[in-house]
């Protein structure tokens, strides 16, 4: 085949397509339950949390929203962010063999993997909305555009964080353990399962530093007309984090490219 003269942009797009297809095959055929787990995981989280709350007998109402749809939205949004981060930061080491081709840059592997992960999550989210609507829960978005806006922001945020952590994890493999452990408190403090409204006001001030809390509260306001998020939630604050993470991540990839390739 004659290798045509291609522009850098054409080469990059070709690499993204190839990596995307490779990641899709690897993700969906990794093991026997890989594809069903995509949907089963968020539902399993919901079931366990609802059961847990019933067990301790503290099923309280969330002001302005039904409890289960409220939970489903929080969990699905958070799982998308977590998957982007966890899988995105492993992308470089998982594709090491492919850096033999100079067209493939470390940053491409992270972007392709996060792109795929986001698309799968979007598909799963849509399916879950339909599934829960079918069994009678009210889960249709009240402001679809607002939901899309926040969903896309979380997607980009996950990508940015994955870009940063993929550099950290490749340079210091031990860091992966701490980063995974860090996700556990973030999960609890993002208002996924416990409404942050119930925390004391002094504590809320500190919890509001967490951008994922903003994202999850904001996406809920898009679903429920009467839902009132915690005071101080702002889309602007979320956007600061999203764009800072993305640009810092791209900067890291540019700065440490040689080191990432040489490992």
């Amino acid at each position: 085949m004659q290798a045509a003269n291609r522009t850098p942009w054409q080469i990059t797009v070709g690499v993204w397509q190839a990596l995307f297809l490779r990641e899709a095959v690897a993700r969906l055929s990794a093991d026997r339950v890989a594809w069903i787990w995509l949907i089963a995981e968020p539902i399993a989280h919901v079931v366990i949390l609802v059961w847990f709350r019933t067990l301790i007998g503290r099923v309280r109402l969330v002001p302005g929203a039904e409890y289960i749809p409220w939970l489903v939205i929080g969990i699905t949004t958070f799982i998308m962010f977590r998957n982007q981060m966890n899988r995105g930061m492993q992308a470089i080491s998982a594709n090491r063999g492919l850096f033999a081709y100079r067209q493939v840059q470390p940053v491409d592997t992270v972007l392709a993997r996060c792109g795929l992960e986001g698309m799968l999550s979007t598909l799963v989210f849509t399916l879950i909305i339909f599934l829960f609507s079918l069994v009678g829960y009210h889960l249709m978005p009240h402001h679809p555009l607002h939901v899309l806006h926040i969903w896309a922001s979380v997607w980009v945020f996950g990508m940015g964080v994955a870009l940063i952590f993929s550099v950290v994890v490749t340079a210091l493999p031990e860091a992966a353990k701490f980063i995974s452990m860090l996700m556990f408190p973030v999960y609890f403090l993002s208002g996924v399962m416990i409404p942050v409204q119930y925390f004391p006001h002094d504590l809320q001030q500190y919890l509001l530093y967490n951008p994922m809390l903003h994202a999850i509260e904001l996406i809920r306001t898009g679903f429920f007309e009467t839902y009132r998020p915690v005071d101080g939630v702002s889309a602007m604050y979320l956007h600061y984090w999203v764009w800072c993470a993305l640009f810092l991540g791209l900067l890291f990839q540019l700065r440490y490219k040689q080191r990432l390739l040489a490992q």
């Binding site: 085949m1 290798a3 080469i11 490779r22 033999a100 081709y101 067209q103 390739l261 040489a262």
Partner: protein
């Protein structure tokens, strides 16, 4: 034409590292095949990786005015969890294969002759099968310069003959830069030679002289 100018390379370990290549200079004219010689660890593969654009030099530069392949050889280039076919498709896509992918797959399959293993994951391959696939894959693209890092070392006699013939057919169209310890193959395929020793590279217009010099240095 490939021009290597004032090339320096060292590996950065946690406690620093010694220079692997120190001030390497040479120019490879078009259509001249070059054999790279040197003892183990002399920096041959490193030089080839830098020429192929896989690794960057610490100082100096490499000017490539032609289409250069990736370094074909034992070390990597395939994703173990994917099948041979998927790997070939992947490489065809990143090289802008487009709608010619089926044709490329056909060519690789014919050259590699690994039968049913083509649809099994690469991690199950023997080193000989891997090198057959890698070699066939690189030949499916028309590069001006092929880089070979012991690409045929583990192949059987039939494969070595086939590989040599494939390169001899390319004479006039493409050249090769090869790292090898197989003297016969170097003499068959290369005209010029580079001997690497203690971080320096010495250019020889005649491969026989380079081999002679290398053998003297190892006391053979």
């Amino acid at each position: 034409m490939i021009e290597v100018r004032n090339l320096y390379k060292r590996y950065h370990g946690p406690f620093g590292g010694d220079w692997v290549l120190k001030d390497v200079n040479f120019t490879i004219p078009d259509n001249v095949s070059v054999g790279i010689l040197g003892r183990n660890g002399a920096g041959k593969s490193t030089l080839l990786r830098i020429i192929g654009g896989m690794d960057a030099a610490d100082k100096g530069s490499v000017v490539r005015n032609s289409r250069v392949s990736w370094p074909i050889g034992l070390g990597g280039g395939f994703q173990g969890s994917m099948t041979g076919r998927q790997n070939v498709k992947f490489v065809a896509r990143i090289h802008g294969g487009g709608d010619r992918i089926p044709e490329i797959i056909q060519r690789v399959q014919e050259f590699a002759e690994i039968g049913k293993a083509f649809d099994q994951s690469v991690k199950t391959y023997s080193s000989g099968m891997r090198s057959r696939l890698a070699f066939g894959l690189s030949l499916a693209f028309d590069f001006d310069v092929y880089l070979s890092d012991e690409a045929t070392a583990v192949g059987d006699v039939a494969f070595k003959a086939k590989a040599t013939k494939a390169f001899q057919d390319q004479v006039g169209k493409a050249s090769i830069i090869m790292v090898s310890h197989q003297v016969g193959m170097l003499k068959d395929l290369c005209q010029a030679g580079v001997w690497i020793s203690e971080g320096k590279a010495i250019w020889f217009d005649d491969i026989h002289e380079a081999i002679k010099r290398y053998h003297e240095s190892i006391g053979k």
